[in-house]
Each structure stands twice: as structure tokens, then as C-alpha cells.
Subunit: 414 residues, 2 copies
């Protein structure tokens, strides 16, 4: 059997991510490789660290990328922070909270949760009450959970964790770059992300930052590989981290001045991660968050203008995704298929209790753009009408246009 080179169909990806990559990121990723310890390569790694410090709003020295998808970043954080038997508290507001539970259990931690119904965020008082009761070493939370579109407020959680001397880990995969995140100001100890959401790149690289107190925990568990151990290397007392690939103590020695050989850096993904951060820093983080706010507001107004209902506590909705209730009588999967087949636009399905009940529509990264919002609303109107749903002609695009007009009047750049 013979195959041709890849030639993907044109798609506008307006789901909960991955989304269409910024062409500038793909261009950066087509650059040729250099050697692993080439001075240019190590300088590029250092630049990438500096850029992600800006993206995470942190002064943390230990800010780099893990070679894997955003899930690899989550697991690297948890497996490196949690010793077997450690107590961890996970506020759960959707699917990705369950994922943190699952990964923490596999680290053999004692996992406790504070759960709220899908569509709500977890109140800080509930977390504090559980912290006092459970006495965890770590609170692990998702910031933006795309399964419900909720954006968990973090400033209060950071304050609670500092006050009770608990580490705070945040999975910001789906939120970073499109919603405010202030690692240092809010007291977040470890934050991980991915490129495939608001950062406008492909999945496969997981930016991470660790505060000095998180670094101290990880370093306390460091064991240098036998094959590259120096005579004066001594192992720490803690139990050896259960993963080698995701052992952040080793990964930090690879990114740090020792440049100890570990994995072979995924250079093409590094180029992509660097370009994602570079574009975001060039735009300005505040401007990028405002851009996501604006286009998210336009999409929200637009789907409501089509007569659709929105799921969840909209006051706490992430800027970059909205969960839209599938109207009575419409075949949700059939409508998504029609969007894809007839208009080349992908919108998302959903998980668990929301499966078959809502579509998830994203406005993020490269696709947090006016034309992407308007063309999606225009196509959705046609698909709903063809399916027999009562829709106001032009209601979606019209409502979105009003949001843009207001923004222009008030001086926000649309």
C-alpha cells in the first residue's frame, strides 16, 4: 500500500481545542534542527524559559517545557510533587478535576475531593474547610475546565494555601493566555499548560513553572541516573520519583546550568512552544486576555441571539469556550457533522453528564478573531434552520456585531 504526504482538509477549528494553529507557529516549527547541546540550542531553551516567565507572570527560575502533551505536564507535576501516602485535595468541577484525581491516585497519594455540580466553580470557603479537615500537602485544581466551561477563581485559593502552608498546583491547559493568570501574585506554586488552546499552537509541549518552595520539594526527591552520575552526586533522601521521563528534578538538571543529559529535547515542539509564547508576549498578555474576552463575549451573545441557551454559571465562564444547549428536536451529532461537511467548521461535543446535551464552541488562540466568530454563527444559523429549529434570521451575527460595535465605541480594539 502506498500513501501520499499528509494533505489535511481545510478546517476552522471552533471546538474546545485543539484549534487551528497560528501559521507563524507552524512556520517556526518547520525550521531545521540543531544539536542538543549546540550553543544556539541552549540559548533557545533559555529564551523559551524567559518567555514563559512572562506568560505565567512569574519570576520562577524553574519555568520550561515538558516534552509531551498538556497531560504529560500534569502528570510530571503530580508525580514529582506527591510521595506515596501524601494527602492531596482536589476541587472537582468537571472532567479534568476527575483526571487530576486519577493521576494523583496513580501516584499512590491519598486523594480527597471537594465536588460541585457541573456548571459551577468551587467556593474558596469549601476548599479552606477541606484543607483544615484533610491537612493535605497539596491542593491540585484545574483553572479552566473545558468540560463545563467554568473558570475557577484562583486568587483566593492561593491565599488559603499560603495561609495553611499547602502547595497549590494549577492545570491551566485550557485557560492560559485567554484568561487572567498571575502565578506569583496569586501564590500558585506549580502551573502547567499546553499549546493547543489559547496559545495557538499544536498539542505536544507542556509549559510549566515551579515556585521555589515547589522546587525544594522536587529537589528533595532527586536521584541522578546511574549512567550519567558524577562522583560527587548524592541522592536525596525522599522516595525516588516513580517516573524517569516525567521526573522534574532530572528535567530541571537538563534545562539548568548542569545540562545533564535526560531525554532528547523535542526540538520542533520547542520551536513551536517558543513561538507561541513569543507571539503572546509581543501582543501583551493583558491584550491577549482582552481579545479572548471580547470574542468570547461576541460568541456568547451570538448563540443567544440565535435563540440558544447557554449551560452553566456564565458569570464564571472561561472567555474562550461556551457550552450551548442543543435545542429540542435537533440531532446534536448530525448538526456537528453538517457544520464540518458543509462549512468546514468544527464545533465540539461533550463528556459525561453533558454528553448529547451541549455543544462546546471555542474562540481561542488564532481563532479568537471576529471573522471566525461571525462565520461560525452564520453557518450554525443555517444548520439549525435546516434541522427545523426556530432561529431568528441574522440573530446570531447581529448580536455578535453589537458586541463588536460596543467594544469599538468604548475603545476596545475589535
Amino acid at each position: 500500500m502506498s500513501y501520499a504526504p499528509v494533505d489535511p482538509p481545510p478546517r476552522l477549528l471552533m471546538g474546545p481545542g485543539p484549534i487551528t494553529a497560528d501559521p507563524r507557529v507552524l512556520r517556526a516549527m518547520s525550521s531545521q534542527l540543531v544539536g542538543q547541546y549546540d550553543p544556539w540550542m541552549t540559548a533557545t531553551m533559555n529564551e523559551t524559559m524567559a518567555l514563559y516567565r512572562d506568560v505565567f507572570r512569574t519570576a520562577n527560575e524553574q519555568t520550561f517545557v515538558v516534552d509531551g502533551t498538556s497531560r504529560a505536564g500534569i502528570e510530571a507535576a503530580l508525580v514529582s510533587l506527591l510521595e506515596p501516602g501524601d494527602r492531596v485535595l482536589v476541587p472537582v468541577m468537571g472532567r479534568f478535576g476527575h483526571l487530576l484525581v486519577e493521576i494523583a491516585e496513580r501516584c499512590r497519594a491519598e486523594v480527597h475531593t471537594v465536588e460541585v455540580p457541573w456548571g459551577e466553580v468551587v467556593p474558596a470557603e469549601g476548599v479552606e474547610e477541606a484543607v483544615v479537615r484533610v491537612r493535605p500537602t497539596l491542593v491540585a485544581t484545574v483553572q479552566g475546565d473545558t468540560s463545563t466551561t467554568m473558570n475557577q477563581p484562583l486568587a483566593d485559593l492561593g491565599e488559603v494555601c499560603r495561609r495553611h502552608d499547602v502547595l497549590l498546583y494549577v492545570d491551566a491547559t485550557a485557560s492560559l493566555g485567554g484568561n487572567a493568570l498571575e502565578a506569583d501574585t496569586w501564590g500558585l506554586d506549580v502551573v502547567t499548560a499546553g499549546l493547543q488552546k489559547c496559545l495557538g499552537g499544536p498539542s505536544g509541549s507542556a509549559p510549566i513553572t515551579l515556585s521555589p518552595r515547589a522546587v525544594a520539594v522536587v529537589e528533595g526527591r532527586k536521584h541522578v541516573e546511574a549512567g550519567i552520575r558524577a562522583a560527587d552526586d548524592t541522592d536525596a533522601a525522599g522516595e525516588r520519583i516513580a517516573s524517569n521521563y516525567l521526573d522534574l528534578a532530572q528535567v530541571m538538571d537538563y534545562w539548568g546550568p548542569r545540562r545533564l543529559n535526560h531525554h532528547t529535547e523535542a526540538t520542533t515542539m520547542l520551536y513551536g512552544a517558543r513561538e507561541c509564547a513569543r507571539l503572546l508576549v509581543e501582543e501583551g498578555l493583558d491584550a491577549a486576555v482582552e481579545r479572548h474576552r471580547l470574542h468570547g463575549a461576541a460568541m456568547l451573545a451570538g448563540v443567544r441571539g440565535l435563540g440558544l441557551r447557554v449551560f452553566g454559571d456564565v458569570a464564571h465562564k472561561m472567555h474562550n469556550v461556551v457550552a450551548v444547549e442543543i435545542p429540542e428536536g435537533i440531532d446534536g451529532d448530525g448538526a456537528r457533522q453538517a457544520m464540518l461537511d458543509d462549512f468546514g467548521i468544527e464545533i465540539g461535543t461533550s463528556f459525561g453528564p453533558l454528553h448529547g446535551k451541549v455543544w462546546r464552541i471555542g474562540t481561542m488562540g488564532y481563532n479568537a478573531r471576529k471573522d471566525a466568530v461571525l462565520v461560525t454563527l452564520a453557518a450554525l444559523e443555517q444548520v439549525l434552520r435546516a434541522g427545523g429549529a426556530p432561529v431568528t434570521a441574522g440573530g446570531g451575527v447581529g448580536a455578535a456585531r453589537e458586541v463588536y460595535a460596543d467594544a469599538t465605541t468604548s475603545g476596545t480594539d475589535a
Copy 2:
């Protein structure tokens, strides 16, 4: 601080890998993304599975890529196969054998080794004797260990493992595509690789294949994630795999007909992995191995023609890398620096007992080419002469040319 887009210096990467990527692979990787469950995407995943069956020479249904570097593939195999307390036997002939030991220990396996001095391969009889003594559930070995350049013969090991009903795992990261590997004929149960050696791509994707009996072990440990569990999902009896990200039972459900959500596939790396395999299959695996044999032989003759000595048991040398003893009086790191600074050519340093004693020079993937071999030898001659080493003028290029001339006479395409 403001940064420009990445703009790498031109390099010819003639070390032990990563090496210069085939431009066709980089072009494939610059293709735009599609959605995770787009029919085109799942078809592309299926094509990638089919292509890697050809590359691994296997009929194994479970043949796919792990989203991480080659080391992620190794860890995925070991953490998914080994339950805590399982006995594993690791033949160690260099650094990457020690890495298998390290990873297996982190899986809490009981690890036994058969070691040989660096520069030798492990005799099958020694492995069989240890299998009888240790009674492991798994033998885990490296095929090509770049730290010593040795190519471990595997056909006999496969036979031993089948006879004693032991699973055989092979790390073929550095060897696959440039040295014969016959997964099914040789009885290899699990084989993993990376793109950055003979496959001519960047690091960041780890092709893997699992035999039905290996799949049975992994499936016996399957636990479906709580967040996406269906009513009729029942968990297996075995201890839950310690990693979620590298849990092959879950990864197989993502690549298989259930398409259960797990990580978000690293689409750009998938495009790269597919193109690497496509080019190799188009060339023909036998032709690719022969190409690596030829250019490896030319490089070997060339360094000897320069009066240099070669480390290790050359009869068991991998085709794609040679370890060259640094001559008396030459500063090894200074010479590598001069190769890079003055000629844009990277050759490799070395690890452990060989550190400071040998350079490692590769001829692999896109750089298993006559011009790459000859220009490296020409530059090395100049650097050695400038360093005061006694070299025969033209001796390296001349000796390599003779290998090419012989190959042309005997009908092998140079």
C-alpha cells in the same frame, strides 16, 4: 526583552543523533491541524499504524506512536508491562541498558542484569543462563546502544525468550531503519523507537509495536478513567498502571475503534512520524538498511584512513554510528568545537567510561549520504592537522571513496 522568530544556524548533524531532519518531514509537519476526531485525522492515525507495521516488520494490530520522545516510549512499555515486584532481566552493554534498569526500578520491578564491558554485545547464552536462574517475566534490552555503538543480536534472544515463555522488550530508538529489525520473525514482543535517528525526523514521537501476548498483559491491567467511564466498563484485576499518560491500555483505546479520549494527540508530531515512516517504506526497509550499511562502512574506512582507531567490537557495530578514539595530544572538546565553528558540522561527545576518550560520529537518516560522509571526513582531517595529529593527507576521503567505488562495482547503489 524582545525576541525574533527562531532562525537556527546551518548545521550538518553527524553525531549520534538527533540528526538533521529530512526536509520532507519538516514540510509535512508544517501542515495545518484538524480536529482530534475528524474522520481525516483518525484515518491518518490508521495510516500511521499501517506504515509502522511495515517499519517494524510486524503484523501486530497494536502499532502506533506515543506522544513524547523515545524515552517516553521506553517508559510506556515498561510501566505498562511491569507490575511492582515483577522480575525483569536487563542485558546491559552501555548507558542505555542502565536507563532500562533505572526505569524498571522506578516501576518497582525486581531488576536483574547481565553486564558486559562497554564495546561488546551480550551473548545469548549468558542471557539464557540468567533467564533460567532469575525466572523473569520480562527481558528488556537495547538493540543499538549509541553510547558504545554496539548492535545487540536479537534473533537468538527472541528464541530464548519464546522457549522460556518470557516477554521480550527491545529499545530500538537508535537502530530502527538503519539496521535490520524483524519484530515478528525474531519474536520481539514490544519494540519502541524515536524519530531522531535513522528515521530522519525530530525527537518527540515514539513509535511502538506490541505483540498479542504483550497486549494481553497490558489489557489485563486496564482501568478506564472515571471521567469517561461507560456503564459497562469493568476494570481489570491487575494493579493499576502507575502512569496515566503512558498507560498503554488507555492509549490503545484511543488509537483503537473505541477512540476513547485520552491525551490530545500531538498532531504535528504525528504528521512527522507518518512522513518518516512513509519515506522509509517508499525507499524499502531493506534498501534503507543497506544505505546505512554502505555509508557507515564508508565513514568507518574514512576515519581509519585518517589514521584513527575505532572503539569496540566492530563486527557488532551499528551501521549508523562509529566511536573514534581521540588521538593522543588532541583536545577532544576543542576539536568538536572547531568542527562546529569552522565547518558547521556537529560530531558527538560520549558518556561514562568513554567520556573524553572517543568521539561518536553518526551516518544516519537524512545524513546517511555520500556528501555528508565526505565533507565530514574532509573537515575532520583539517581539524586534526591543525591540532597537530599525524594524519595522512586525503586519507579519510580517499578510503571512503574506495568503499563507494567497490559498492558501485558490486552493484550497490552509492
